[in-house]
Assembly symmetry: C2
């Protein structure tokens, strides 16, 4: 699946979504980030109460799967269809929001549009974000330079006039059904649904290690300051420290570049990215504060170098603290999950409880991590086969998708009934 | 210094060289690879005896030094000037050959033109070699596509008609003065001159390790097949095996690419190059035959992976056996070096002997490694400060350069007198 944000393929699925939503009686509004807001009126209309929204995204990674993001939108449409078909009335409007460029794969800020909505990312920054490759989607002209989000929103006709701002477009709550993208549900006794109560804290670092370029054929081992050998020891040591830590620290290294990259030159410089995560913001901070000095020792004394290398760059590029989700949303999801599962297993509530994974942490970022700053939010996870995501082999069974959509439906309706009818919430979190 | 082969900068230095050589009474001939052959007639003329040549190159790496290659040509001109100024007659013609694209930096085969001369590289392959970057030198048009060696030879006016073939352009011998490009002379008791008796054997491999891409935030340690962690352990293990081997095995890793190179994706694939060298062709073969199975074990059981990775590619891209140089050339260089040094230290032959490093192995490739297949060949090394080369800081003192040129002069004259006067060699090696 390749549907990068704001390509022709994205325009096509947006047009389809708008048609579907209108067919279900929704009002559709596009904001200045191209987010599509489709809402089915509630009984309180025209009182202007904020809607309960089901949010996710339609864009994918360049070689992505068919479930990441898309499931949340498709399930949202099914929820609205069920409400229509059963003639169910809700107090508040219920709707779907399709967030633009969640993946950050084409325009390099993930969850940029929910970031604008919360006020965490300035609109001007988002509008002028430039695509990573001068690529575009099929049918677009190549070689015309790299385009910005604003240019592409205009080109595909999705630059709306509505302000993208939590105060102008408030939500009573944001629920997101998503595939887990990890192996926990599958591997921990075949859980069927996960109730997500928080997102992990993470920090990203850009690091450089310098040694000395030299000729591979003329430089004996005892004269080498091989930046690659040092970096190989550094990343393994960092990983070992993470494993040993005991506070659920996840250390990964992904981007990794070796200079000069010539077949007979010993590398003089290596640049790489560290991704460090923990469910606890404090544990993460404490771990990374000890990391650099530890790794500087390794650079200076790497086993396979007689001459020292140095860490010459250590830049924290992202700092995202852990985000707690909202107790009322979590309660609505938990009760729905238990109810849906109990129905499946013939009313056996004990068995149903075994099939629900409560208190899950979201390892990945999601638009819900932003919305949680401004409105009650929670997420529902369904299993990912083999934990695989961002890959064509990403898979969630039809049964799991349907189950997730049922939990979403019940969760939204429960939240609307318990919390909003009579109204006692649904404003920005500060006001809740 | 940036003088890539066949750029305008290369044309300028070639034009200058041709003028200088003609000014010294040389006949100048350009062959179909753009190699410039400048020969000063010997007394045997017009008997057509093959000349004794001093060969090296004028091209550099993109960020190279001012000595690598250039020293051998400049010293050659000084030798001819000395012969002229002292009225020295030689039996055979003595000359200089400037080999095209020795570095392989612009057109990606190193020593391509001496390779054509020996018959090891087909002329058509060499002529159609395409530049690595659509770059060219200063003053050239950009963006006109990548050019071939033949196009660039034509453009700068150095596509000669003379066949580039050892049978058509025979040499009595090939002597090459070159900077060491390594630290051995400097670090082993301040030796001043090195007598090179062989070049190292080397093999290059392109290797790929595959694991499984996964999300950094959602994939626990016990579910990872991280190709980068596996590769880090593999390259360190290969290095450790090389160190332990005891047969002078040099293992290096240079080109290193990590896929997909996205900040929140655990690498699923890593590609890299191995460069393995030894003075002994047999030791090298025996070492590499055990390398792959050893490293496959590491891939499958890397310390920081719970799931196995695999080596999915192991391609030998280059196999260059060790090349012995010619006893008569080595003897001429050794005697010259001892004589030049003895003169410097007031006739103290014992001290002179201490300043000469005999039996050196060339770690790097040189045109001499090719010529040695077809005519008597040897090399003279002078010290490289800090062993640094292919870098702007490359440095050899004026004193060392002059000393090298004196050894070259004496070596060439000795060879001419001892070997060729009366003639008893100077044909292709097979005939010697």
């Amino acid at each position: 699946m390749n549907r990068l944000a704001l390509t022709d393929a994205d325009k096509n699925v947006r047009d389809w979504f708008v048609e579907e939503a209108k067919g279900l009686g929704c009002q559709v509004c596009v904001d200045e980030m191209g987010n599509i807001w489709a809402t089915r009126p509630g009984m309180s209309t025209p009182s202007g109460l904020p809607p309960v929204m089901m949010g996710s995204h339609l864009d994918t990674q360049p070689r992505g799967g068919r479930y990441d993001g898309i499931l949340g939108i498709m399930a949202g449409l099914e929820v609205l269809r069920s409400l229509e078909e059963t003639g169910t009335k809700t107090w508040r409007p219920i709707g779907i929001v399709c967030w633009t460029n969640e993946e950050g794969a084409r325009f390099p800020i993930s969850m940029v549009s929910s970031g604008v909505w919360t006020g965490c990312v300035p609109l001007s920054t988002a509008h002028s974000l430039t695509e990573v490759f001068a690529s575009g989607g099929p049918g677009e002209e190549k070689g015309g330079g790299r385009k910005t989000i604003r240019q592409e929103l205009e080109r595909i006709g999705y630059l709306g006039e509505q302000k993208c701002d939590w105060r102008e477009m408030p939500m009573a709550a944001h629920f997101e059904l998503h595939i887990e993208q990890g192996p926990i549900l599958e591997s921990s006794g075949k859980k069927k649904v996960g109730v997500v109560v928080e997102s992990q804290a993470y920090k990203w670092f850009t690091v450089e290690v310098e040694g000395r370029e030299a000729h591979t054929g003329t430089t004996p081992y005892n004269q080498r300051a091989d930046a690659l050998m040092a970096a190989a020891e550094i990343i393994r040591h960092a990983r070992a420290l993470g494993e040993k830590d005991g506070r659920g620290i996840l250390v990964s290294v992904e981007v990794f570049q070796v200079y000069p990259g010539s077949v007979n030159t010993i590398p003089g410089r290596v640049g790489f990215s560290f991704d460090v995560r923990s469910a606890s913001t404090e544990a993460l901070s404490s771990f990374v504060s000890t990391l650099r000095p530890e790794l500087e020792k390794v650079a200076a004394n790497a086993q396979h170098n007689s001459l020292p290398c140095k860490i010459t760059r250590w830049e924290e590029t992202t700092d995202s603290p852990a985000q707690l989700f909202h107790a009322k949303c979590i309660a609505a999801v938990t009760q729905s999950a238990l109810s849906v599962l109990a129905e499946e297993v013939g009313g056996d509530t004990k068995r149903a409880k075994e099939l629900v994974q409560e208190n899950m942490t979201s390892g990945a970022g999601h638009d819900s991590v932003y919305t949680a700053k401004r409105c009650p939010t929670s997420m529902i996870f369904v299993p990912s086969k083999g934990g695989i995501s961002h890959h064509p082999e990403e898979f969630t069974s039809e049964e799991d998708c349907v189950r997730g959509a049922r939990v979403l439906l019940e969760g939204v309706v429960r939240f609307d009934r318990d919390v909003c009818w009579p109204e006692d919430g649904g404003r920005a979190r500060e006001e809740c």
